[in-house]
């Protein structure tokens, strides 16, 4: 197995030169075809000697066909290895560049060593420092692992082709001409397509994707879109292309299941009374409605990316970006809460995210450097629903944090994957509303690389301590509107209004220092209303201008009731 140090030294140029040489030899061999056919048996020559000459010519022809097939197999194998090594070389260069920029050293054996200069760190931020070092080290280790996996795969595949050629195991496919033999041989020289790492981290996935040539990447999008559509760490553009390609297949499968269930119900005298067919039919129809909502949203003007498409659970899951998460300077990921579904909520939330993107970009254009913004609506979990059964008996009940925990385990790698898939990280903000803020709060207790967070109308963040929210100190924000009872529940941890170290920002009517008047949001569902103080606060954090937020340390009546008793949390 090659080491990382071996792979670092690999060069595509000698392989390219070999291909050039093989091209010439193959052309020469195939060029002998006519001569071979005409030679050995002059017209009109009959008898025993002629039969012998004909047999000898046929034997020679067969040998030539096998030789041409073997040469063609080797030529294709070396050519594909050359492309693969070129891609791998770029991936290794990128990995080494990340290491150098962050003061790490990658040894020949692939081990990653922290080589940061010894400097004094603010004790108040030492945890953040080590968390970030750990994150980068993990990224490098995973990328190295994938480079070695890919290098081993190329080496093994090419060795297999060469060995087969050497042992005469490349057949000519029953060819009767040298050209046919050439084609048959080429068909046996292709290198395999290496699949994504099993249970890989976003950094593993990014390292794997980077190690593929463009042709291999496109082949995967075309032939195995299910491999990458939901694979965190793969760039948004590739995920989008793969997921759009999957829409038709998913629809066909759901329609087939719907017809099957409908036929069962029609054939059963008792309908769905004694079976679960009618409930499943409702779920399938909701998923079909979800596909409609996704396609409607994607068809709207402006760039969008379908970053997640999953029909495997009870309800559809999807994530749609306004803008391009691969190139935007600022990326925000919004997680909604209770009752959110793809079929019922995607259009409205996408509209709010589109308006947030627009407001943020216009603000950046007027005041700043015109940075670009992408805003993602992430419905990538089974958000609790409000039916009686859903509240009391469902494993995703709003009364439990089970759904939020599972959602957090999906959201954290999604967030990490945005950084992992890019050469340069964007300013990444996580936005969480209601139960979605619990999901976001739990996700951010992992090491996600998120730069800022804004929670709003939260029943709790899954912690009582803002230090457990792993964003840089001072970058966690909380908005609570007047008369938002959910924001005062303090059900999944204390009411964030009482968290020390949290930036409490306003949802009230405001006149900004520049004279702008913004409206108040009241209740639980108006935080993203256009021209509201709350929306403005979201936009300036998303746009990397947190110094512009409108703060609000006031406490409402509900906050007084939800004040945690010291010593009890």
């Amino acid at each position: 197995m090659p080491t990382y140090g071996d792979i670092r030294k690999w060069q595509p140029a000698p392989l390219e030169a070999t291909v050039t040489g093989l091209n010439q030899r193959c052309d020469e061999l195939v060029g002998l075809s006519d001569e071979l056919t005409a030679s050995g048996v002059p017209e009109g020559w009959t008898g025993e000697a002629a039969d012998g000459a004909r047999a000898e010519r046929d034997r020679l022809q067969n040998s030539m066909e096998l030789l041409v097939a073997a040469a063609a197999a080797v030529r294709r194998g070396v050519a594909e290895a050359s492309d693969a090594v070129e891609a791998l070389k770029h991936s290794v260069a990128e990995t080494d560049s990340i290491a150098e920029r962050n003061h790490f050293v990658i040894r020949e054996d692939g081990s990653v060593v922290d080589n940061a200069p010894v400097t004094a760190h603010d004790p108040a931020h030492i945890d953040e420092y080590f968390r970030e070092r750990q994150r980068v080290q993990q990224e490098l280790a995973d990328r190295v692992e994938q480079a070695v996996r890919r290098g081993t795969d190329i080496d093994s595949d090419l060795a297999g082709v060469l060995r087969a050629a050497e042992k005469g195991e490349i057949n000519d496919g029953g060819a009767t001409s040298l050209q046919d033999a050439l084609n048959a041989g080429a068909g046996q020289g292709g290198l395999s397509t290496i699949g994504p790492p099993e249970d890989g981290s976003p950094y593993d996935n990014a390292g794997w994707w980077d190690s593929l040539s463009e042709a291999e990447q496109q082949a995967i999008i075309d032939e195995h879109p299910e491999w990458i559509g939901n694979l965190d760490g793969v760039p948004g553009e590739a995920r989008d292309e793969a997921n759009r390609a999957r829409l038709e297949t998913e629809r066909a499968a759901l329609e087939a299941r719907r017809d099957e269930l409908q036929a069962d119900l029609d054939d059963n005298w008792f309908g769905g009374t004694f079976t679960s067919a009618d409930a499943e039919l409702d779920a399938v129809n909701a998923k079909l409605d979800s596909l409609d909502a996704i396609e409607e949203t994607l068809a709207r003007p402006g760039e969008r990316q379908l970053l997640l498409l999953d029909m495997s659970d009870e309800r559809a899951e999807a994530a749609i970006a306004n803008g391009n998460i691969d190139t935007a300077d600022h990326v925000a990921v919004f997680t909604p809460g209770l009752t959110s579904t793809v079929d019922g909520s995607m259009g409205g939330y996408d509209n709010s995210m589109a308006q947030l993107q627009f407001r943020t970009e216009e603000e950046l254009a007027r005041y700043g450097d015109g940075g670009s913004v992408a805003t993602v609506t992430w419905i990538g979990y089974q958000a609790p629903q409000l039916s009686v059964g859903g509240v009391l008996f469902d494993s995703n009940s709003v009364l439990s944090d089970g759904s939020a925990q599972r959602g957090a385990d999906s959201l954290a790698p999604f967030l990490n994957g945005i950084d992992a898939s890019r050469d340069t990280d964007p300013n990444l903000t996580a936005l969480g509303h209601s139960y979605g803020s619990t999901t976001t709060g739990l996700a951010l207790q992992q090491n996600t690389g998120v730069d800022s967070a804004v929670f709003f109308g939260s029943p709790g963040l899954g912690t009582n301590d803002v230090d457990n929210i792993n964003v840089p100190t001072g970058n966690a924000h909380y908005i609570e509107a007047r008369n938002d009872a959910v924001g005062d529940l303090g059900y999944f941890g204390i009411d964030p209004s009482h968290m020390d170290g949290m930036n409490h920002v306003s949802a009230g009517e405001t006149t900004l220092p520049d004279g702008r008047t913004l409206t108040e949001s009241t209740g639980h569902s108006a935080y993203m209303d256009d021209s509201s103080t709350s929306q403005y606060n979201l936009s300036v954090v998303v746009g990397g201008m947190p110094d512009r937020v409108v703060t609000d340390d006031g406490k409402g009546f509900g906050d007084i009731l939800s004040w945690p008793v010291p010593g009890t949390y």
Partner: protein, 155 residues
């Protein structure tokens, strides 16, 4: 309003393609006027000058039949000087009035930092401002798609 009433209300408006064309024409005229008459720098267009999404809370039942669009002009690098701001607003307001926009309302007004908002009967908002750069944009109100309007009834 129920679904049918929402559709009927929107059918009184131009469809979204007509609306976009009219607003784009207005923005283009204003951009040219500002460059020609106020000497501001040439506009740098944005990567996506037109974006759209579903209609907002006033037309929740319209779904795929309706759309709002956001038309950005990008920015003209640099500040439009304070002493010429009022004249620039007058020009923008007069031009926009021709398309049914009302009087400008001050959003921001301080030294080297100004913005006004103008609205029309369909809920469109024209924003014109200047600070580090000068910006101009329109968010449309909700309009039926061309196909939905031609259909003559809700889907």
């Amino acid at each position: 309003m129920d679904h049918n009433e929402q559709y009927q209300a929107l059918s009184e408006r131009p469809d979204i393609e007509e609306a976009q064309a009219r607003y784009e024409g207005l923005l283009s005229t204003i951009r040219d006027q500002l460059v020609a008459e106020f000497g501001i720098a040439e506009w740098k267009p944005p990567a996506s000058p037109v974006r759209g999404s579903a209609c907002g809370p006033d037309f929740t039942d319209i779904d795929a039949d309706g759309e709002i669009r956001r038309l950005s002009s990008g920015s003209s690098p640099g500040n439009l000087p304070d002493e010429r701001w009022t004249a620039a607003v007058t020009l923008v307001a007069e031009t926009a009035r021709g398309l049914g926009f009302g009087d400008p309302e001050v959003v921001v007004d301080r030294q080297q930092d100004h913005e006004v908002s103008l609205k029309d009967e369909y809920g469109a908002e024209l924003l014109f401002g200047t600070a580090a750069n000068t910006t101009l944009s329109i968010s449309t109100g909700c309009h039926l798609t061309k196909a939905a309007k031609e259909r003559g009834a809700p889907a």
